[in-house]
Amino acid sequence: MKTRMLIFFICCAFIINAQTQKKVHPNLNGITCKTCHSCDIPTKENPCVIPCPREKMVSIDQSPEEGPLVLTIDKFKKQTDIYAPVIFSHRLHAEMSGMSGGCKMCHHYNPPGQVIGCSDCHELIRKRTDVSKPDLKGAYHRQCMECHRTWSGKVECESCHTINGKKQETDSKTLIAKSEKRIHPKIIAPTILKFNTPKATGKVVTFYHSQHVDLFGLECQSCHTNESCVKCHAKDKTALLKAKTTEQKHAVCSSCHNTKQNCSSCHFNSVQEGFNHAVKTGFDISKFHGKISCSTCHTEKGKFTGLNSECINCHGKWTQENFQHKVTGVILDETHQALECTDCHQEKNYSKPICSSCHEDKSFPKNVPGKLIKKNG
């Protein structure tokens, strides 16, 4: 009896724990509790959070509109009298970060749930015992300077700070109002790009940008690394246009594609159709496999060839338990439910069934072994 009670309580504890976990962290995308917590059951009193910087970066994503518009950073009012508080156009910066990683560019190690501010982790007082992460002042400046230095190469404080007592052209109120109006136009990803290359045969490379994002699941910064503001806003664009070597030109592609061989897989003489699994491989994935990412089946990294297209290769043997026949659009009647899959589907890809082994006069789709329904999605 005692052991039963104990098991019951443990089960209860786990259920409650699982529920609170969902409440605190609604979407745990591929991370486990152990990524951030050192103990088995973290509580509010003892969250046992592993100190930053943790080995795995965890963050969240929000649209810029969800965050604050303008922030006045006046946390150091008591500590320094040299500079006035900084007016930070948060929305504008969130919009700008769109292509370089979004929120996580600044809100690194942010637990799933809500976005937390810098001061929740970085200490306000510089004299402290935990020296593993910078204090708040250091953290702010490190984030800002990383990008701002690429603009001018200079570090003048007065580009963000106003010196106390020095006469200013605009007061803080008008500065806030001005910052509120500043927005960065939405970054629109192109669908298709056509590159004219100097190659004699295979002049044209057709690049389906949208497919790389939607179908292959690449994030902006997986290709657009070190994307700085200057790339679009440079006053002097000549540096960007300077001649690149063949290797530099292929650098972005070669992180996934082998650009040293098989030129003809990308270089054609005319604009090409986008990637179509059915056309390219003979295996139509649009029916059942359209929504899963490439890597679910093509598990070997960077290798997308040579998969056996027989169902059994990934799914094992189909049985009543692991296969719901209604996904095909046909609910089997009781007689047919009792049969083995292979009794009707003799082909290895389980395509069209054969009725003639039992019924001489019947055939699919003229006759249906059950009820025909409309397929979901």
């Binding site: 910087p53 080995e55 040299i82 510089r126 004299k127 402290r128 015992t129 020296v131 593993s132 910078p134 204090d135 002042k137 250091g138 953290a139 400046h141 490190r142 300077m145 230095r149 690429t150 190469g153 200079k154 570090v155 003048e156 404080c157 007065e158 010196i163």
Partner: protein, 300 residues
């Protein structure tokens, strides 16, 4: 009684002398120079430093040295020449080219490293220098006789001399803001640094943090913490993205710097060799002279 007279110095010297001869095999350093386990230090991350030179301004202000206003330090043209700390600037920041990312040059702050086994303490013949419990290496201006042995002994060539002051020249170097830290304040440079490229803390924690940084960002840092072992360890330790020797850090071994100078000094002065040798020499001269006179007399 701050000012120590010559007589006082001789008294303490005599006392110390008797103490040393009495306990020569047991104590080698004055009690002040014990290395504390909780000693403080600073971790300088040269990959974080942006070369704003605010530390230079804060240092001068904290030490009552002449300085222009803070905005003047935005001028980056000073980086065209390599600078060294001197009697008027106890810390300086230099700039080096970054071959990987041209837009982010490497800035290196230079000041006294506050060695764990300081050569200056060992070389100082009047015992003006000391390694304090909090890690700082400081000196007593009133004891200093201006021999400048510390300048020669320092493996980092840090102590500077006020050559321009004819009447009362003084040794000048970073004192780890000894007076400020005594009051519970941070060293001036570590307080002002906008990016916290200089982190003040217990040396032990800083060494750990430095190695954690290298582990977390192996592409950002080379796998070496300068000052962890160099010349027996220093209170100020450095992280960098490329070899320290390319950033004008001296090439140093792991043995404490005083090891060399002390071996020579102690070797010469062991068992009262110099006075004995001197008197032996004088005696020898006398004896020769006496003999000479004798033979001269005999000749006459």
């Amino acid at each position: 009684m701050v000012n120590q007279s010559r007589r006082d110095f001789l008294k303490t010297a005599a006392l110390a002398g008797t103490a040393v001869t009495g306990l020569s095999s047991k104590t080698k350093a004055a009690p002040k120079n014990i290395l504390s386990e909780d000693r403080m230090g600073v971790l300088v991350d040269t990959t974080v430093c942006i070369g704003c030179r605010k530390c230079e301004w804060a240092c001068k202000t904290a030490h009552n040295l002449e300085t222009p206003s803070i905005e003047v330090y935005d001028d980056r043209s000073v980086f065209q020449t390599m600078r060294r700390p001197n009697s008027k600037s106890l810390t300086v920041v230099n700039e080096y080219k970054n071959s990987v990312e041209e837009k982010f040059p490497i800035n290196v702050k230079v000041q006294c490293m506050h060695c764990d086994h300081p050569a200056c303490v060992s070389a100082c013949i009047v015992g003006a220098f000391s390694k304090e419990e909090n890690g700082s290496v400081i000196w007593d201006t009133d004891k200093c006789i201006g021999c400048r042995y510390c300048m020669v002994a320092c493996p980092f060539q840090v102590p500077a001399f006020e050559f321009e002051s004819a009447l009362k020249p003084d040794i000048k170097k970073c004192d780890f803001c000894f007076e400020r830290t005594k009051e519970g304040k941070l060293p001036a440079c570590t307080e002002i640094c906008p990016v916290e490229a200089v982190t003040y803390g217990q040396r032990e924690d800083l060494v750990k943090a430095a190695h954690q940084k290298i582990k977390n960002y192996p592409d950002r840092y080379i796998n070496r913490v300068f000052g962890e072992y160099e010349v027996g360890g220093t209170s100020w330790i450095y992280l960098a993205s490329k070899e320290f020797e390319k950033l004008d850090f001296p090439k140093l071994g792991k043995d404490p710097a005083p090891g060399v100078s002390e071996a020579i000094q102690h070797g010469i002065f062991a068992y009262f060799v110099p006075p004995v040798a001197l008197y032996a020499l004088l005696g020898g001269v006398m004896w020769i002279n006496k003999n000479k006179k004798k033979s001269e007399n005999e000749e006459i």
